[in-house]
């Protein structure tokens, strides 16, 4: 079926015979190249990748505009050029947070008949209850979704990797204690655990993000542990041990790289989950606080204006949907590429 794959396996199989560190990386690289080629061949996975890439660029630019410029504005050097928060948005169009002077108007999107009148081309998707442009706020909402989703996943990934690797590699009572702990954390439903975390530390996007990250540690820890346990018994790890390589080096150089593929798949899918959870937290009022634009918070506000502008409730949800679908498509494609047996 897949010629390239069987070849790379032959290569890997032979490199195990005479243990050599460089051989390992060759094997890993062949695997990666193969995986990438497979993903590129899969149109859904590729589409997911493109959407993620676009969203990431948007998130990056808006982050610079919001966070970096606000930071730089403290310094005279930059301030004299007019650098301030949302400098870019203001220069091109308008600030996503500033409310227009006078009575705020809730406008529906262009072309949507409504008792509240028609949107204008200056505001293609209409304006919200405070007269801010919805399209602009949606664009700036990408930042929170992607950034917080990825960071939360990173926290879970790193935490899970450390705990899983230590637990799986050492076994014994370390393993018992850590896995019991993971199991207990796992028994508290995800969102409830995050809510308890927020209840303890206070409501802010930072704690929400850390909470989501911490709550996802058990998932990653279990996955990595199971991989480590199976890799631990492999010949090259045995050989490295016999050759007197230190435990830490074995974990870092052999065990982790060889466990990475399924973890990457899990991480990609987890970003999607994290985005939904964070949006949910913002919807409940525990995530991002106004006026910073975020999709979840926009949905929360829109509930009060369903009669006046029903579309206000639609757009942010669509944004979440498209972003999360992209992560799921990419993650599924990655999994299929890494495990051709499941190719369906």
């Amino acid at each position: 079926m897949a010629t390239t794959h069987s070849d790379s396996e032959t290569l890997g199989g032979e490199s195990v015979e005479d243990f050599d560190e460089s051989e390992q990386s060759v094997e890993a690289r062949v695997g990666w190249r193969y995986t990438l080629a497979q993903v590129r061949k899969d149109p859904t996975a590729f589409a997911g990748f493109i959407i993620i890439a676009v969203a990431s660029v948007v998130a990056l630019v808006t982050t610079i505009d919001a966070v970096v410029f606000e930071y730089l504005a403290q310094y005279q050097v930059f301030a004299q050029f007019g650098v301030e928060k949302y400098w870019l948005a203001k220069t091109i169009w308008m600030s996503p947070t500033a409310e227009p002077a006078g009575t705020p108007t809730l406008l529906p999107p262009v072309g949507m008949e409504n008792t509240f009148g028609q949107g204008t081309w200056a505001h293609p998707l209409g304006t919200d209850d405070r007269g801010r442009d919805i399209l602009l706020r949606l664009i700036y909402g990408t930042r929170i979704a992607i950034l917080v989703g990825v960071l939360a996943t990173a926290i879970g990934l790193v935490g899970g990797m450390v705990i899983g690797a230590v637990s799986g590699y050492y076994g014994g009572w370390t393993d018992d204690v850590l896995m019991r702990l993971a199991e207990t954390l796992y028994a508290i439903p995800f969102l409830v655990l995050v809510l308890a975390f927020i209840a303890a530390f206070g409501r802010s996007i930072t704690f929400a993000m850390v909470g989501v990250g911490v709550a996802s540690i058990p998932k990653f820890a279990r996955l990595i542990r199971s991989r480590v346990v199976s890799v631990r018994e492999d010949e090259y790890v045995e050989a490295a041990k016999a050759a007197g390589v230190r435990d830490r080096n074995i974990i870092l150089r052999h065990v982790i790289p060889n466990s990475f593929a399924p973890v990457l798949v899990q991480a990609t899918l987890q970003v999607g989950t994290a985005i939904i959870i964070i949006a949910g937290l913002s919807f409940l009022g525990f995530g991002i606080q106004p006026p910073t634009p975020s999709w979840g918070q926009m949905l929360s506000v829109s509930r009060n204006y369903m009669i006046q502008n029903p579309w206000f409730s639609v757009w942010p949800g669509l944004c979440i949907l498209v972003t999360v679908v992209a992560f799921n498509m990419f993650g599924d494609g990655l999994r299929d590429a890494l495990d051709p047996r499941l190719n369906n």
């Binding site: 079926m1 897949a2 010629t3 070849d7 032959t10 032979e14």
Partner: protein, 371 residues
């Protein structure tokens, strides 16, 4: 000589994969007579399993039978012809799906798969599975089928058969499970049993027990067998006649003694050299050089020439069919142009350097020729 029980003629099975068409079985012909145990040998990947699964039209997507004719007891199990548009289609002589399922599968031809661990459904009792197939294929009532199932379990040497009827597959060892599968095949009283490497997954002592059991039961029930294996030792022990397969083609067919003592194809010879034989003492075993090329892109000419010790220039261009090479003295056919039956330039053509490059090279060159 009476008409054979099963006749396979020019069977072709192809797999339509993303990477191209794999000609897994490429025009093989063989037959099985009543009461006979016919072997089908070759390395893994030679297309043996695909070939036998084609007999009951069990080839799974993306595989398809694209040519050939299989006849069983005078009925056409499948006949595929190529139409004017190049598309292959089943002829009207082919018996319909429903009939094949009701009259042939299980009832006339039964199958035993390679892995006894995977062949039994883990969530149903062993006896229940046996009973279901007996009920279905022998028109017995539930109680009679149950009785028959217990009897067959006893017949294949399962101790306390009645008590173990209600056990689940995971409570049986591998050898015991294979006995169950043999019981299953025999219980349906078929005329032919296809055994697809049934002892490969077992350890050697268990294998020997199973082979003895099959030998004994075959005599008692007078069932014909097609026995797929890669093990020449097994062939020597139980087969009457043997077909040797290489890369989707049959390269030699002969009665078992002729195959061992009057080998006519270099591949068969290489296979025999690579396993220990009780009748010959050798200094060291001589494994076949290289690995079999991928069937997706077989070498031009004789498919074995990339690994053949006797290969010559002429072998690169001629792909020989399987011909009688002993002037009709015995039924011994081989597909190698070194024999006089093939009028080629073999004698005059220069020898080829082969097999020296190691496994990986050969498989690469196999994949890269005539793109």
């Amino acid at each position: 000589m009476s008409a054979p029980l099963l006749r396979v003629d020019d069977l072709q099975v192809q797999f339509f994969t993303e990477d191209g068409v794999v000609r897994a079985v490429d025009g093989i012909s063989f037959d099985v007579r009543e009461g006979e145990l016919v072997g089908l040998v070759g390395e893994s990947g030679a297309g043996k399993s695909v070939a036998v699964s084609a007999i009951m039209r069990l080839v799974e997507s993306p595989g398809r039978i694209v040519g050939g004719h299989i006849e069983f007891k005078g009925e056409t199990l499948i006949e595929v012809e190529r139409g004017d548009d190049g598309e292959s289609y089943r002829t009207d002589a082919t018996i319909p799906d429903g009939e094949l399922r009701e009259r042939i599968r299980g009832r006339e031809i039964a199958i035993i798969f390679q892995d006894p661990m995977e062949s039994l459904n883990p969530v149903f009792t062993v006896g229940g599975q046996l009973r279901e197939f007996i009920e279905l294929n022998r028109d017995l009532s539930e109680e009679d089928a149950r009785e028959e199932a217990v009897r067959m379990l006893r017949e294949v040497g399962i101790p306390e058969a009645a008590a173990r009827y209600d056990d689940y597959p995971h409570q049986f060892s591998g050898g015991m499970r294979q006995r169950v599968l043999i019981a299953m095949a025999l219980a349906c009283e078929p005329a032919l049993i296809i055994a697809d490497e049934p002892t490969t997954a077992l350890d050697v002592t268990v294998e020997a027990q199973i082979l003895d059991l099959v030998d004994e039961l075959q005599e008692r029930y007078d069932t014909s067998f097609v026995w797929v294996t890669h093990d020449m030792g097994v062939v020597a022990e139980i087969c009457d006649r043997v077909n040797v397969m290489y890369l989707g083609e049959i390269v030699e067919q002969a009665p078992v003694d002729d195959l061992f003592y009057d080998t006519q194809h270099p591949y068969t010879e290489a296979l025999l050299d690579s396993v220990p034989r009780p009748d010959e003492t050798v200094e060291e075993l001589n494994p076949i050089k290289g690995v079999m090329p991928e069937a997706i892109n077989p070498p031009a000419g004789c498919r074995f020439h990339t690994r053949c010790p006797d290969a010559r220039e002429a072998c690169k261009t001629t792909n020989p069919d399987c011909r009688d090479v002993t002037d009709g003295v015995t039924e011994h056919r081989a597909a190698c142009i070194k024999h006089d039956a093939f009028e080629t330039t073999y004698e005059g053509s220069p020898p080829l350097e082969t097999g020296s490059g190691g496994g990986f090279d050969v498989s690469l060159s196999g994949g890269e020729t005539d793109d």
